[in-house]
Subunit: 103 residues, 2 copies
């Protein structure tokens, strides 16, 4: 299994708007081959931002890679940037292989 995480530093005061963007998005991920599960996570607060992470589980890295090259991916990201969310820097992508599980 493969977990794709994107870490977002959302400026203080923008959190609600950021959550709205994700709640209203229409990703069609459930129609994509190899997609397992999606979660949006709210992490620790720093002085000037709150850390969020999108957290998507895939059957394997190849399924994720294929999705990033698909028309569905392009469509899912088409509206990005139109909302007034303030970020500190660019999102930071991290891909993880699951090497142990369960206990």
């Amino acid at each position: 299994m493969f977990i794709a995480m994107n870490r977002f530093k959302v400026a203080k005061g923008s959190e609600e708007e950021f959550e709205k963007v994700w709640a209203e998005r229409d990703s069609h991920l459930d129609e994509v081959a190899g997609f397992v599960e999606f979660r949006l996570l709210r992490g620790p607060e720093a002085e000037d931002h709150t850390l969020f992470a999108s957290h998507t589980i895939w059957r394997d890295r190849d399924s994720f890679d294929a999705w990033t090259k698909s028309e569905a991916f392009r469509r899912a990201h088409a509206g990005a940037g139109t909302r007034k969310v303030l970020y500190l820097g660019h999102p930071q992508f991290e891909g993880f292989e699951v090497i142990l599980e369960g206990r």
Copy 2:
């Protein structure tokens, strides 16, 4: 739901030993109230280290906090540090609340 992540920068060459520590540990997590799921993740490689993350899902933050104060927690971490794994810095803890799920 609450996700507790610990991020470990494991020095190049120590990866195998690090994975062994986790594979052989005896956490008894499955007996702990509120525990849902555990995964060990291997993330991106930098020049001098490989990022790993332990990734534990809990029913809620309170269950996680209760576990960190328990005898089971003390026992699970008793053997830590006896293996010859080289780290770059201390593990970095991040707790996340799940705010969206599924699609």
